[in-house]
Amino acid sequence: MERRVVITAESAITPIGHGKKDIINNLINGVSGVKNLKNEDNVLSKYLHSNVFGVIDYDIAYEFPRKFTKTLGPVSFYACQVAKEVIEQAGLTQEQLSSGRIGVAYGSTHGSPSVQRNIYEAFFDPTRKGYTKINATDYLKSMVHTTAVNITRMFGITGRVISSCTACTTASQSIGYGYESIKFGMQDAMICGAADEYDTTTIAVFDNLLACSTAYNDRPHLTPRPFDVKRDGLVVGEGAGALLLEELEHAKKRNATILAEVIGFSCCNNGGDLILPNAEGVKSTIKTGLDTARINPVDVDFISAHATATKVGDIVEAQAINAEYGKGPLVTGLKSYIGHTMSSCGVLEVIFTLYMMHDNIIVPTLNLDEVDPRCDIINHTRALQESEINIASIHNFAFGGVNTSLFIKKWK
């Protein structure tokens, strides 16, 4: 019998709030989480042209004992907090978590850059303090899979670990591979998601490639502007999200609340340029995703576009959506509210879509004042509307030509 995969818990820490109440309120009211850079480092910030960031500027009450915090960099604090909330929301027991049938698919773009700086300080100046000094826990806090294994450690999880590290497709791959792990019988549940901490080096990467928004430094809330004729690039952000994916019968057996069903996932590579988006690659990803979900394009009501607000990227995505879907489903660029939260964008966009699905609304793309004619070939959400989302697709694309599409279905 084919195994079905449902979502039974969610948690998000984002530039527009922590938890559904704040997030949905800010989505409905068109509140942006984009602000100016929150702290001035004395090294890199002065060279950046972009001064905007999707900022988490509120306190989070972590209650982790020291035996766990000693291996947490900032990114893992975020990751463990959302994992904790998902576990609590789902009501999973320690016996279940340590059964070997629950795993973790969680990642980040590059671990913890702020902690990596400690290591590089020793690398470049081994004579500081008179002797070489790399702290015992620096590597554990900063390694690329730090989020996933701090989650397994904190919660005693002994199932499989997948720690994807594909920048903007990290979370969507985590969800997709978690979905496949359950669907094909390897696990009964997976905690899936990704996190990225505040980091100006990420801005520098895109700034150097002329891909960052720089024209709205004095009006941060007006950027990014996906699909808008005056868009001028992406805004980097920080955030974390987690979903509990679970095999349907496993969820029913423990009377779990089912939030939605994951019905399809695809991941295809452009097989070429590592930076430039590719419409054929995106089209292929959409087609493959629709096949895995066993649905037709007409069945999709809503698309959360990747839509980072770069000049080329938005056009390419619009072309691909038009080619596969025509002007059918409503399309929103959710990064317009929070910026591009890098590895976590996929899970946050799924969670925002879940919220809309449950409340029967679709929020518009923020800052979409005038649609670029080259993007005006799809059905943009221009205003908040009451609308049922039965099936949604979430797109994410990453450097390296990695493309993903996820399909989730309303649970009735």
């Binding site: 004992p65 000693k70 008179g130 002797y131 000094k133 702290n135 015992a136 826990t137 554990l140």
Partner: protein, 87 residues
């Protein structure tokens, strides 16, 4: 440093950096306070700060046999005496 000063430094350090308060100086740190290998390496970093000098690899390996706070203090005592004698 006197023995009393060493003990006071270590007890303060354990409280501030490791959240171990009013410890039993002869208790097994791992069994009683969940002090693990990561904590041991971190503690040695602080010991280097206390003695204001790096520990050799041999000294660090020797320190891996330590199990109690009194043994930590004995270790520091021994290192400082050895360093003083070699001057």
């Amino acid at each position: 440093m006197t023995r009393e000063q060493i003990v006071a430094s270590i007890v303060k350090l354990l409280e501030e950096e490791f959240e171990i308060v009013n410890p039993d100086l002869d208790a097994n740190l791992t069994e009683k306070y969940e002090f693990d290998s990561i904590d041991a390496i971190a503690l040695l970093e602080h010991v280097e700060d206390i003695i204001a000098a790096p520990l050799t690899q041999a000294e660090k390996k020797e320190a891996m046999e330590i199990r109690t706070i009194n043994q930590i203090c004995d270790f520091i005592d021994g290192i400082m005496e050895k360093r003083n004698k070699s001057r």
